[in-house]
Subunit: 316 residues, 2 copies
């Protein structure tokens, strides 16, 4: 069985055909060109999909991971910060019409955690929390084997857990959300704001990547930022452990490429916040799907759909 | 159909026979006498149960709500702050042996939210969060119709969401948990600590009840404490709304008897923290089961069990 995973980003669309063993058998990236409008984006994605599908001789399903608020059942993008003029657009049906294969659409952070369950560290687990540290901070939760969507489908906004009450204003209108600190944007801002206080810092630039590299090299500014980021993540993950009692927390997104220096700090901070009865009940890991996590996540939604269809046919 | 609900408290055991319409047809309270030991407590609860059951002519199930960490599947109390010598005690089977009817045991805060679904404000809802403000702060979550238990059954510890990082030390070992502020204990402490600053306060005593009454009468110390309590609850509930996207949040426990003065402050604070896309998706109410919420919660677990048994028999 093979599924096409489409990772819809603001700049690029990454597409990959994934087989059941979790191998990406073919990959393709096209520009999103949001400014061309919904119709045009759908056209180009469909065209590229058909090319990809033809080249590998057919496909069993298509999954799309998209940022924003998604109505999964009907595959509608209600709104998305990356696509400001996409309001209630029927993405799944429009793609389906052109590609000729069942298409499912899911929020990208939800897709991320399902991808981890199918192809990543979450294999065999029923209770998994996924956090993506990118431009923003996204979240997905699998609890008792079920993806948490919430009553109107907009739940699992884990980036908007408050970790610094009265902290930085967040894009959501609140103050001190996890996203204001632990996103790439938040990390850059902290480094900029503190730079003056660390004249000996050898920080190359203010990108999250450089800041994390600096922390790894024990640069004082890098370490200072890392401390605040891991403290924030420690509070949020502590909350989530007490709420969901998960087996696994997987951290993904661009910032997670920082690796061990980030992971060990986050583990320590989280542990400080977790009550004794939860010790030993959870693991925290970095996603090892990294660059392809978006494709894997999107594809996993297609596999989920095929699985649920086949269970339905069997009358389960 | 009638179920006996047993609300196991540190001081008293409240017992009540509840029918499907949510009427308590008979009620009884006995002392817990924890110090007499597990055997003796079980004996006296069983004796009282049998008397109650006999007097109403039979029963269809028994549900027990107990504080602490409960292994629901086997009805075992792993540990409970109120019963320090109860470690891994088989409460359900010991009661079952004596009462002769299937007994289910659940954490009391979990039972609370299920009780709200069966008999309270949560009727007909699939996504409900219950928060009990008592000596501590308990939590229960129903998400997509399912009670959230977590991978090892100890989830939904909503009282340990951090709302004041670096705040008061909590019994759990962390700092600034919701419980340190919004529990009856937390409210009393705040009033005591601030008393000197409010010499004109006419606060009668430092009980949470008196503090909330003072707030209602616009006493400055009462209002000051209420502000901090509602700010803390606003942060926690904001987090929970972003995480679970619930239809309903029900606040119960002794502190909830404060009524409108508490509810309106909590609603306002929560609203300040919730992002626009969640506006209008949730309601916050106070439990109207109040004094009998424990009995209703315990009984609802018995009704749940009967329902799931009957579905199983039908092969669903």
């Amino acid at each position: 069985m093979k599924v096409l995973g489409i990772d819809l980003g603001g700049t690029n669309v990454s597409m990959g055909v994934v087989n059941e063993e979790g191998k990406i058998v073919k990959k393709l990236t096209i520009e999103t060109r949001v400014s061309d409008g919904f119709e045009s984006v759908v056209q180009r994605i469909s065209k590229a999909s058909l090319k990809l599908i033809e080249s590998i001789g057919g496909i069993d399903g298509v999954g799309v991971g998209s940022p924003g608020s998604i109505e999964h059942e009907h595959g509608i993008v209600r709104f998305s910060p990356n696509f400001p003029d996409w309001i209630d657009v029927p993405l799944a049906s429009e793609l389906e019409k052109r590609i000729g294969v069942k298409v499912v659409v899911e929020n990208d952070a939800n897709a991320f955690v399902v991808g981890e369950k199918w192809f990543g560290s979450g294999k065999g687990y029923t209770d998994i929390i996924g956090i993506t540290l990118g431009t923003g901070v996204g979240g997905g939760v699998i609890s008792n084997g079920q993806l948490l969507r919430g009553s109107t489908g907009i739940g699992a906004e884990l980036g908007h857990i408050v970790v610094e009450p009265n902290g930085y204003m967040c894009g959501c209108g609140n103050h001190g959300c996890l996203e204001t600190i632990a996103s790439a944007t938040g990390i850059s801002r902290l480094a900029k704001e503190w730079k003056e206080r660390y004249p000996k810092s050898s920080l190359a630039d203010f990108s999250a990547k450089s800041v994390m590299k600096a922390a790894q090299a024990k640069d004082p500014l890098g370490l200072k930022v890392l401390e605040r980021v891991s403290t924030a993540l420690g509070i949020a993950l502590g909350n989530l452990i007490h709420i969901f009692n998960p087996q696994l927390i997987v951290i993904g997104g661009g910032v997670s490429r920082a690796g061990e220096v980030l992971l060990s700090a986050v583990k320590r901070r989280t542990r400080e916040n977790v009550m004794r009865s939860f010790w030993g009940t959870y693991e925290i890991v970095l996603s090892d799907l990294v660059d392809d996590a978006g494709i894997y996540g999107a594809a996993s939604m297609g596999f989920e759909e095929i699985k649920s269809q086949s269970l339905e046919e069997k009358g389960v």
